[in-house]
Symmetry: none
Subunit: 238 residues, 2 copies
């Protein structure tokens, strides 16, 4: 049985009976408890369900769609690298820092890592990041920037409109950067390969880059020329 199908079935079950236990599911799927728990954690992380000790129950109130969205899966790609980068980056900021966090799957991982620390003041344009940090019981202050919420499933939009939205996002990010004292970029090695990362921020304005592998030679040269501190996240390290 494919993992995606399994998670789908879990959602279906929860939709019907509202509550399941880990053991129950483990038996049903013939999988280990660990696997089941991982599924549940993953679904919980996206607000589809709500875990409790020993199982999970439906969290339908949110109106979150019942199946995994494309964004969910995207989020889980290169998860270990992202987590490593995110944790490493979270360590870079002292407690009670004030920071701006942009939208993105890597920054969501970052927000999760950050939520375990205390007393951060975070301004963000991502409702999801705001949710993660405000639900953590570690006394953060979270400010959500208002604006139009981009539709995840707006199928009818043409390429044109999508490009416009992308453009708007870019400008928003640029505006944030204008205000920032110091910029830290988070990017995994794959993203670093493409030049797109630095369309938003000029290299010269970036103070730090957190990534998971040593960048290629030319990139390294450019980085050191611009005075960017490269922070390497070891995937094994906390």
């Amino acid at each position: 049985m494919k993992p995606a199908a399994r998670r789908d079935e879990i959602l279906g079950l929860l939709d019907e009976i509202g509550e399941v236990t880990v053991d129950e599911l483990a038996v049903r799927f013939g999988a280990s408890r660990e696997t089941v728990r991982r599924d549940l954690s993953r679904l919980d992380a996206f607000g589809h369900i709500r875990k409790f000790h020993g199982g999970a129950r439906a969290a339908r109130p949110n109106g979150v769609p019942l199946r995994e969205t494309a964004f969910d899966t995207r989020m889980n790609e290169r998860r270990t690298e992202k987590n490593a980068i995110a944790r490493r980056a979270a360590d870079l900021f002292p407690e009670n820092s004030v920071m701006f966090i942009d939208t993105g799957s890597t920054t969501i991982a970052f927000a999760q890592a950050l939520s375990k620390r205390r007393g951060m003041t975070v301004i963000t344009n991502s409702p999801q990041i705001a949710g993660i940090l405000s639900q953590a019981k570690t006394n953060h202050h979270v400010y959500l920037v208002g604006g139009e919420v981009a539709a995840e499933g707006r199928e009818t939009l043409g390429a044109m409109a999508i490009a416009q939205i992308a453009q708007f996002k870019t400008e928003m990010a640029r505006a944030m950067i204008e205000q920032a004292q110091s910029i830290t970029v988070l990017a995994d090695h794959q993203k670093l390969g493409r030049p797109a990362v630095f369309q938003v921020a000029e290299l010269a304005k970036v103070a730090r880059l957190v990534t998971d592998r040593q960048p290629g030679p030319e990139m390294s040269d450019a980085l050191s020329a611009a005075g960017v501190e490269v922070v390497l996240a070891d995937q094994g390290q906390s």
Copy 2:
């Protein structure tokens, strides 16, 4: 029985009968007094209830609802009524309407109902509502109002701080209302019993009230005197 469910049930009981004793609960749940006391202490710390010697009673200061933070549970109670109201209310607005939707468990149900229609422009202060409407594939435009995101699980907050937050929310709602051309209030019959609903909006400014039962005689008089149109939602109807 799961701890979370147990605590939920305690809240439900207190909502009904207003007062419980430790022994009573211990018997009901088949748990030890210790466990019950721990539950009560925890709920007290959240400001949901107030402990006294041998038991606890509902801590309802002034108009502060019993369950301000246990949103998911609150969402589940009176679900059918809320859904009926929400669906009925959604029918009141023509397509391509522009509206402002405040936070709240009833309005979330409303947003869900609304998401099935098309082309609405919605301004809201609730990230959850924004999420619901933006994920629907029915071409809505959603604008999220920025601001501090209230912590859901900030355990350290006492009843005092919670009351303050409630106050802030009230003021925000008032400001929205200032700007509105026409106000529609959604409230189930239980809420209508309490005067708190109209602390925020003067009756005179309300154009419509959508509810599930005919209000009591005095309330009815006040409503018609203020020229409020009462819309009744039949629970069986779509």
